[in-house]
């Protein structure tokens, strides 16, 4: 009735259910449901696997033959070599170390332990399936390879990609592309050579690939420990009135203007000129003007250019409104660019939901701490 494999999973299911019940009764933390769901999910998964095993009769054509179990399999226990005891021990060690050291190692240990347990179970089951070791190996492979290969492949790829990303993040911005090109070229050349030399021994190819992968992973590990290069990550736009009202050095981001929409088609270019005056240029007129007209209620793309020889920022006053019913006055927060270096530029996207008529203090662009450097914004 029940096959060997399904018995195994029945046991697992029962264990998980019991654990879930025990856990639910005994534990009273506020995050209890997380672990509870995990155990219930495990029970469902195990019972699902049990169902499959039952359904497919352990993938064993002769599974129902009584003599198969009495004359051969169980009676002739001939366990082969197994790596899972030592992997399991490693997992246990990691768990212990993790308890003392850091949670990451603890979690890794649990994962290793579970993998070892599962593989061990499947291996023992398969070794008892028949008296024919070759067949036993083949059914283990048939069951486990569809799991093992994708998982190992994904893990391997993830490790390599992660290592590579650590290397790229460690290198300076200038060296990065060069290294990228060199490694890419090496891989291409290597692949080409392997492909064109069909007579090359498999062991040679595997050896070279392993050395390359190990090199990549170890370099990545070293560089990960050493840390990433210093990267400037600052907000491009500030809404802090104290920041916006001075040209004090807080941060600089030379790439602030590189949002997608900034590359073309701006509604207005606001220019802080060498004469320390602020001007605006809009499409259709080459002229510098002191009044900008921006449409209402749509995101208006605006470019700020600093043509002076000092680092300044552009501040936008977004108006002050009075509620006619209550008479309360609300000031929209100002917005401003980061400090833009001489000859620098930055992009802003502005939206004025109400017309200029509604604001008691006019909308305007200004450069803080520079007398008279303002441009009025008209929103019809």
């Amino acid at each position: 009735m029940f096959t060997t494999g399904s018995k195994l999973f029945i046991g697992g299911t029962v264990l998980a259910v019991v654990a879930a019940i025990v856990f639910a009764v005994s534990y009273d933390g506020d995050r209890a449901w997380v672990a509870g769901i995990g155990l219930i999910a495990a029970a469902i998964a195990l019972s699902f696997l049990m169902g499959i095993n039952l359904w497919v009769r352990d993938s064993n054509v002769g599974g129902m033959q009584a003599d198969a179990t009495t004359t051969s399999a169980a009676a002739q226990s001939r366990p082969g070599n197994s790596m899972w005891p030592i992997v399991g021990a490693l997992g246990g060690a990691l768990v212990v170390i993790g308890i003392v050291a850091t949670p990451v190692v603890f979690k890794a240990g649990i994962v290793v332990l579970l993998i070892a347990l599962f593989e061990w179970l499947v291996q023992s089951w398969s070794e008892r399936a028949s008296a024919d070791p070759a067949f036993n190996a083949s059914i283990r492979a048939r069951l486990m390879h569809p799991l093992e290969f994708p998982v190992l492949g994904a893990v391997g790829l993830a490790v390599i990609i992660y290592s590579f990303s650590r290397i790229m993040l460690f290198l300076s911005k200038e060296a990065g592309p060069a290294v990228f090109v060199v490694i890419g070229a090496l891989i291409t050349v290597g692949g080409f050579l392997f492909a064109s030399k069909a007579t090359l021994k498999t062991s040679v190819v595997a050896g070279i690939s392993t050395i390359a992968a190990l090199g990549l992973v170890s370099t990545g590990a070293v560089m990960a420990i050493d840390g990433e290069r210093d990267m400037h990550e600052y907000p491009t736009v500030s809404n802090d009135p104290t920041v916006c009202s001075s040209n004090a050095e807080t941060e600089t981001d030379e790439r602030a203007s590189q949002t997608v929409a900034a590359k073309s088609n701006v509604a207005a270019t606001v220019i802080f000129n060498a004469d320390r005056q602020l001007y605006v240029q809009q499409i259709g007129t080459g002229a510098y003007s002191r009044v900008a007209t921006l449409q209402r209620s749509n995101p208006s793309p605006v470019m700020f250019r600093n043509l002076s020889d000092e680092a300044v920022r552009l501040k936008v006053n977004l108006g002050t409104f009075t509620d006619p019913a209550t008479g309360t006055v609300t000031s929209q927060p100002v917005t401003c660019t980061t400090l833009v270096e001489p000859d620098g530029r930055q992009f802003l996207s502005l939206q004025f939901p109400k017309s200029s008529l509604a604001t008691t203090q006019p909308y305007s662009f200004e450069v803080p701490e520079v007398e008279g450097a303002t441009v009025e914004i008209v929103v019809p």
């Binding site: 088609n265 701006v266 509604a267 499409i283 007209t293 449409q295 209402r296 008529l357 019809p380």
Partner: protein, 411 residues
Amino acid sequence: MSRRDTRLPARRRRTLGAVVAGAAALVLGGCAQDAPQDTWQPAGDNAQKIHDLQWPVFLVAGVIGVIVLAVVAFAVVRFRDRGQPMPEQSHGKPALEIALTILPALILVGVGIPTVSTVFDLAEEADTECIINVTGQQWWWEYDYPVQDGCGGISAPIVTSGQLVIPADTNVLLRLTSRDVIHSFWIPKLNGKKDTVPGRVHTLRMQADEPGIYAGQCTEFCGLSHANMKMEAVALFPADFQTWVANQLEDYQAPAEGSLAAEGEATFTANCAYCHQVNGLTTTAPDGSVTPVLANPDEFVVSGAAPNLTNLMTRNTFAGATWDLLTEECRDRVWNAPPEEFGERYLAGVSADCLNEVDLREWIRNAPAKKPMYATADQAANSGGKFRGMPALGLNESQIDQIIAYLLERH
């Protein structure tokens, strides 16, 4: 002065081209009487440039087409099975193949060079004399005229919709953008189309040789009422355009005390002014303080805008230029006016006699029933309670009478 000098040769070239183009049009088909959006009847420089480029291409394509079809027809008739022996099993003649590959390549070089130069010509912005901002939203266009020295001088911003009024014989540059989805601005007789994309400002040149009304249509699919998003460009002689500008900037004139229109003003303020701005409209509080009435469409409409109705009756259309404000008879009088008289007739605006009250009344009564929009309460639930278009306001007939009387004075 200089403008007129530079235009003369262009005109002559155009007359010359028109003869050939006319002949070509007869052959190829594409020219009709009175089709308002005909792409083959340019009425301005830019459309003319496109036309000068396209008709030879149509001609060449047509000739090639006729040749190919004739050869196929000949082959089909000549080489039909009449019991002749099996033909020679020839796999082709490389020399002929190469010749027939190079020939179309040469023709395409001939087409490509003027194409590229026209592309850059039409992107020129340096000769702009007049700037107008055009903003698309579901499902109407807003036109605003920033303060500028060009256009005969505009001293205060003008916001209008329904009809784009431009001075004739002047290089106008439209700055196009959108408040919600992508639309496309197209007045076929004046220029090709250009999409309006939120977050981007595109430019489109406009120039009309003669005064008149030029029809257009949104050509980028923009949702439910895409078919009802029309536009009309109105070209006026520069002097007439001055008059129009002055008219738009006139101070608000409150309706006479006690008139139906005065009741309309109150009804309008209470029901319409949430979204529709009328410049100069004020409200007097019980304590006698006067405050301007400011529309806040951003609080009620997804696009954050509703047409400015300050000078509604100077326009001939409403609701995204879908319906005429003029009765059919009065409309024809304006549309078919000779160029010299056009300005006068257009500037007369909409009088009580000429008002197309039927459509306007239906619109005010229940707009979503007249034009498909997402403007009912449950449809608005999806967009945070904001409408996409004008909702039904639940006004009774006498309120509608009042509003129409009030609007009739918005000249």
